[in-house]
């Protein structure tokens, strides 16, 4: 009996504490100081764990990562044939290297990028990841994270050694974009977990009369002081347009340029070139299949962007024009 009472007391106290924490955090809009403490404690642990478990995670990634490309069966089969020949652990490293190489080519545009590894991910309903770089590496909040394929997300929280990135696919993420061809501006929001299957983004264009058609490329739009996002980074490609007659905005579904489920090496843009290098940041789609995810058993997975790459117009040809 005594035990029970005591237990209930403890339960009550802890529940009250939890509710208090929620309330405080709610009031602060999610920027609880406890987070910093948590990052200090768990950040290093996660970094170490990542180093140890990376090979394991990579294998899983390769197996499960590419479900988004399932639609294009024929291309998958072709890729699988190629990939099967190269199936090996070395391949995994190679993919990381490729991602890095693609990333580094962005440097040519004058961007200063801090490369980082994804070391942890949020679960449940959120699409967030943790990077192994932090304020010690010059990272600040609201900086753009990208990888060789395009726009990944924005840095939301930074601790000394880690930083948290809100992926563009998260339901609470909003990214200003413009259409690469026409320069129409709009915003892309993530769909989070609300769509089954591959992650998609939802584009709403501010101009109700603008013409949208599948295949158009969407790039990030400039923002004041290049925060929260730098301009010109490919966000995705329009795959379907929803025509809502009478709606104030046009909406379309955008297939992200980045495979959010197989993020490995990413870069955080810490400095933007003085004179507009916007165009140069657009990576040109590789003519051949870009293997980011790597080998996967036949039937399941596959590299993600490969399917979309050929369909997209050469990115470099597009120019952010309007603003």
């Amino acid at each position: 009996m005594h035990d029970n009472r005591r237990t209930r007391l403890v339960l009550g106290v802890l529940l009250i504490i939890a509710i208090t924490l929620i309330t405080l955090d709610f009031k602060d809009g999610g920027a609880s100081p406890a987070r910093g403490l948590g990052a200090d404690i768990f950040g290093p642990i996660e970094r170490v764990t990542h180093d140890v478990t990376d090979p394991v995670a990579s294998v899983f990634d390769s197996i499960t990562g590419g479900t988004s490309a399932q639609g294009n069966i024929t291309s998958l089969q072709r890729q699988n044939a190629e990939l099967r020949a190269e199936l090996s652990a070395a391949q995994l490293n190679k993919s990381a290297r490729k991602q890095l190489a693609k990333l580094l080519q962005l440097d040519a545009g004058g961007y200063r990028i801090v490369t980082a590894n994804v070391i942890a991910a949020g679960g449940g309903f959120s699409d967030t990841v943790t990077l192994d770089v932090g304020s010690d590496d010059g990272i600040k909040a609201d900086e753009t994270v990208l990888n060789g394929s395009g726009f990944v997300g924005l840095v939301t929280q930074v601790s000394a050694n880690t930083s948290t990135v809100l992926l563009a696919s998260d339901a609470s993420s909003v990214v200003g974009v413009q259409l690469a061809g026409s320069g129409e501006i709009g915003a892309v929001t993530g769909t989070g977990k609300s769509l089954s299957g591959s992650a998609m983004l939802r584009l709403s264009l501010f101009d109700a009369n603008a013409v949208l058609h599948p295949g158009q490329q969407v790039v990030s739009y400039a923002s004041v002081g290049n925060k929260p996002q730098v301009p010109g980074v490919p966000v995705g490609t329009i795959v379907s347009v929803s025509n809502n007659a009478g709606a104030l905005t046009q909406t379309a579904m955008v297939r992200p340029a980045v495979s959010f489920t197989s993020l490995g090496v990413v870069g955080v843009v810490v400095q933007v070139p003085r004179h507009g290098a916007r165009i140069s940041i657009l990576p040109r789609p590789a003519p051949t299949v870009t293997v980011t995810a790597t080998p996967s058993p036949p039937g399941t997975a596959s590299p993600s962007y490969s399917a979309t790459a050929p369909a997209t117009p050469p990115a470099s040809s597009s120019t952010p024009g309007g603003h």
Binding site: L14, L15, I17, L21, F42, A57, A120, A121, G122, D170
Partner: protein
Amino acid sequence: MRAVISFVVVAVTVVLQLTIVNRIAFPGGAGPDLVLLVVAALALAGGPMAGVLTGFLAGLALDVAPPGSHFTGQDALVFCLVGYFCGLLADDASGDAEQGHTALFEIVVVAAGAVCGEALLALLGVMLSDPQVTWPAITNVLPAAVAYNVLLCPFVLYAVAAALRLGGARGESRRAGWSPSQARTPAPGASQGAIRQLAGGNAPRLRLSERDKGPGSIGGLRGPGAVRPTARREPQLKLGRPGQRSPAGLGAAFAPAGLGAGTARVRFGGRRHEGVLGGSLLGGSRSAGRGGSARLGSAGLGSSRLGSSRLGSSRLGISRFGGSSMGRSLLGGSVFSRTSSSPLSRPAVFGRSAPLGLASPLRHRGNLAGGGLTGHAPRFSRGSPLTRVTSALRRSGGPKSPGRGWLRGVSSRGAFSRRGSLGSGSLGSASMSRRAFGGRRIGRNLASRSAAGRSLAGGNLGRRGLGHTGSPRLRMPRPKSRRRWRSGGYR
């Protein structure tokens, strides 16, 4: 001690969840929540207080650990509740039926806890108008998350039980006299909860002695007979012998077992096997109890255990390989305990060590006799040829097993009967151990620790008959012991 282990387990799980599980793109859009499962399992093992505390801390850790994007306190709130109710459920059940619950019950509780936890998280998200938690998102995420959780919960449960056992064993061994639970609760029959027990350790002393000796000459190891006494610990010791000290990897554990199987000496071999099994996370205590299972495992069935249990065809597995600990556990024994309460499992129990544990491990802790004594491998038998062979070998070497019929009869009875059986089993083992190794120690330990033990030991060691008589006594003390243990343990 257990609190420390729980803390470590939770911390490790949180990190694994964030760095590995969350990064895997599970088909279906959502992955399992290992932390939730672990909290539920720990609550089951430790009761409401343990559940509340571990739940809150685990949730808070998830809240503040880097990638978290929800409001701080959300997970803490939900996990705290889940821990409390799982602990409560476990307690209630155990309270009525002294012997505790079956593994199936435990799995169901953990699964239910995980399901409710996921639902609560979603509900809380909606209440806080989290933009990420929309109705379509919930309909996508919840079913997948629940499915994965349910799928994984047996494994998490076993892993947690093994961890607790492992930790408990070590801790005890360090402090020989330490375990308060033991001192307080002499109840012989009581201890099986792997978790609690572990902590309580059955016969710490025995273990220590074992260990110390273990590394030494083989003869020394065996000779002490200590082996027998502490069935659970044995595993570690034994593992050590083969040269593998690390109880950690299941694979490792199994492998040795396989190797060991071939050993010429039947008895020892049997023991070793046990040891191996015991050492293995899954089996832990349980395996130790049943030599039979151990042997089977060694025979190569080891793999079968897992498989069978997973498939849910545990029954089949059992029938085939009476030895599979998992199968048994599913049927009857609690995960935490090593012994199985189910009739099928009985045999194992009977075998020896397991016996004590019959009841669910969680609840009891006390039985020294059972745990400690059982050293042997039960063998038993269920009808597979392998088992028979092994049993035959065993017989030649050592004490005879009562035989199936005996076990079954016992098993069929209520908890009492079981205990009795256990007691008997333990006695038998004790006697055996004595013979083989001059088991005075064992006898002493038993006697000193538990009244029941005394009766048994003094009475006779003899064997089965005594056991029956002893059973009723054993029972009585449990409730108290449990309480004490818990309160003591968690403080």
